[in-house]
Amino acid sequence: MRNNGYILVFFTIFSGVFFLGRLYYLQIIDDSFRSNPLNNAAVSAKYDYPKRGYIYDRNNKLLVANQTSYDVMVIPREVAIIDTLEFCKILSISKKTFKKRLKKARVYSPRLASIFVEQLSKSDYAILQEKMFRYKGFYIQKRMLRNYPYNSAANVLGYISQVNEYIARNNSYYQSGELIGYQGVEKQYEDYLRGVKGVKYVRKNIHNKEIGSFKDGKYDTLAVPGKDIQLTLDIVLQQYGEWLLENKRGGIVALEPATGEILALVTAPSYNPNLMVGRDRSKNFNKFYLDTINKPLYDRSLKGEYSPGSTFKMLNGLIALQEGVITPQSTTRCYHGHRYGTREKAFMGCHCNTNGRPLKLEEAIYKSCNTYFSYSYRKSIEKYATAAEGIDNWSKQVKKFGLGNYLGYDLPVGQKGLIPDAEYYNRYYPMKNWKAVTTISNAIGQGEILTTPIQLANMTSAVANKGFFITPHIVKKINNKAIDNPNYIIPKNTDIDSIYFEPVINGMQKVFEQKGGTAYYSQVEGLEMCGKTGTVQNFIRVAGEKIELSDHSIFIAFAPKVNPKIAIAVFVENGGYGSTVAAPIASLMIEKYINKDIKIKWRETNVHDINLYEREYDKILELQSKK
């Protein structure tokens, strides 16, 4: 053959050989296409959903259990119903609904299963199961639902719901319509609780009838049941806290100082977890979600960022002691406040009413003297050559108490809070002309500082432990085995030596026990409690005008003084002085936890009956609606 005729011959043979090679690779060598049974169109996967793990409280009370339910599933591509009317009648839906749902399922995917009717009644299930083979493209799926014997701790437990489209697409474990934990422990410990679903590949004939297993079950797997989880939560204490916070907004966090275990995590307002189960779940969820005034889905105990107010004074006292700028014997005089600068406004008031009598650290704590802590704060900053160095050192010490960053507890939501450092102030004062007094509000826990209730409780726990804390956590045991995450076992030390805690704790004890202490009226006979009140100013802006609202009421406490069993932080929005609402709540919680009973009953009803909606929140709403 002459004149380049061989080129076509060459290309023809080349193509042929190349194609044979490719076919050989695809059809014989590469097994990935043939090994997945689902690539076989006549094979469908049947999932066997394992029992989801139960959740218990620290005293082995069952908090979350399961109940069975049956869903009708549809594969739109395979639907071929002869008698639609009868089918609708059994399911008690209208023909219009039937069409609408089928269309919705087809939009999701014509080939994948979607839920058609959720949660059949037992009797419907019995009827339908008999006739199911007649309805091509439909089948019944058994499913677990959650059940909450105690109607509380919704924020801790979370709920389960169908996976959203994003998860179904991006996580290969989940298929549309399957359940996954949202919020709380259900979300955080999803992998333990859910177990592993079993899969059975079955062959079907053209009439949608199963005709046997695929390859004798070579690819089938067994379901692995979910693991049971025991929480650190004390459900009795939790429920008591929820009861006390009724008609208020706020949060309570109670920890066991020696272990960092969360005993109670209350947020108010909250909701009954049983409302997040079953057919009404999405309706209820929308109701809660759209309630932007009360925000029942917002966990104030974990996400609420507030100024800690005077509860922060102990920390400043401790830092001043550690820095050696004061001793427990150092004194200051307070004349209803003090002047910290030359400008007219540079005056910080104080309500300790000591009228110039020399004041030591203990008394400064139990009378919550602003002047004392302003001086000690200034001294511990001004000890250093520049204000920047001083603030950085102070900030580092404070952060060692678990403030100013995510705490690292095992719940899925949280906030960092804010502990300012030199860099922070440099940003606000670009000329860097700020000094210790510029930041004087930090001395009394106002100003830039923000903390969440759980951070405050953890700080209290560190004080109770005299210098260390264990990161708070909610899970105690998984499948009856104590958790072994070192983060929740190994103590984290602060930079304060334990000897300096003595005078501070004594002062905190006197908050309850000394006449003139800010929580004198909340003391409980026979219980050595240590605490500190906080009262935080807060404002709203209405039409550009700054309006001061009632103060937030804060209280932190631990008890007993020796070998403390509980550390607690209570926060009540617009509750007034720390001593009026938060202190009695903290005291009642401690008494309930340690003594299991309340001696003076009227104290609990008094607190419970405070209705801040009538007294405060409705007024705020009115103010806001005026603009």
């Binding site: 004149n3 005729g5 023809t12 194609f19 050989y24």
Partner: protein
Amino acid sequence: MISKSSNILLELDWVLIFLYLILVFAGWFSIYAVDFSSEASSLINLSTYYGKQLVWIGFSLVIIVLILSIEASFYERFSSIFYMLSLLLLVGLFIFGRTINGQTAWYSFGGFSFQPSELVKVTTALAVSKILSDNLFDIKKFKDFKNVLIVLFIPFILILLQPDVGSAIIYFAFVFVLLREGLSIQLFTSLFTMALLFVITIKFGISKTLISTSLLIILVLYYASKRQKLFFRKNWPYVISIFLGMLLLIFGSSILHKKVLKPHHKDRLALWLRMENDSKKIKSLKRTYGYNNDQAVKTIASGGLTGKGFLEGDRTNGKFVPEQHTDYIFSTIGEEFGFFGSGIIVLLFVLLILRLIYKAEEQKSKFSRIYGYSVASIIFVHFTINIGMVLDLLPTVGIPLPFFSYGGSSLWGFTILLFIFIKLDANRSNEW
């Protein structure tokens, strides 16, 4: 003039005819497998693809008889007129044509539609053969060569305007014909090398391509100067300009790829050259551009060594592959008859093309030879692009598998194409 026999049946090349019949009926069974359902029973059911295809096959037999009964010289003599008429059909599309899937490529009467581009392949092949077979024609002279180019260019552009890229690409098949008839191979190789360099640059990056091609040139120089001592000294301007051209091409390719191509072009290139590493991106591409190819490959792969059996292919039954009865018909064979079945079909096509080349070379008349060569080239390009696409070796291009794919126009077009050659071949003993 030695006449073996006056009986045309003995003159026919039965190898080609058998190959044709096997491919056509294998194609029909594949279409039946795609379209089959348990309810419809009659074979000649005009609501099904296989029913209609059976009718087209019947008509093809009539066409074959007609072609074989007309005198062979008729095709050569009237080739220009056929060509003109078929161009008129193409032009008429812009006025009377029907638009299907965005392509104005169809005339439709009643329930049936006809795609003229399938016929224009035949008339162009005839016209090109006519021009090239002129004894005064010299392909080396641009004055002559340009005439062939124009003949090819007009239908190419008209089809591109429909727009039907797949059918237009076919006209590159005539490169093989021109090469056979004396077109300088340098032009072909340099174009081929340029395309190859472009692809290699995009796939492996500038530095790797540069180093390896430089090494290759140095190697070639080394051997050349071993054989001929003064090779470089004599040819240095040539060598240097090749090297510079190569540099220009490599950097140009890279710039073209990075700056000129749109993201969706790049995505297609990346998918084709297997350059995408992000598995999420691959997934999403396979759901969009790559969807057909991806499904076809899965379907073929699921066939294994021997296949699932006729009508047992569940991916075919489940209609997983879009356009399976037309462009992706080969995947049916892959699934139901496995490696054996699909391998045999590939071999049959190779055999058909090689037989055509062999028979073309046997021709005494220049016209018949060139026409035979055109037939082989056109079928080769269809075969390579179609199966390459179905096996996910080439990007998606809508082009049917000859004799196999569903469609009257396509089947008739290829039947006419092939049988005119068979008629010419049968007549060769009458030529001198």
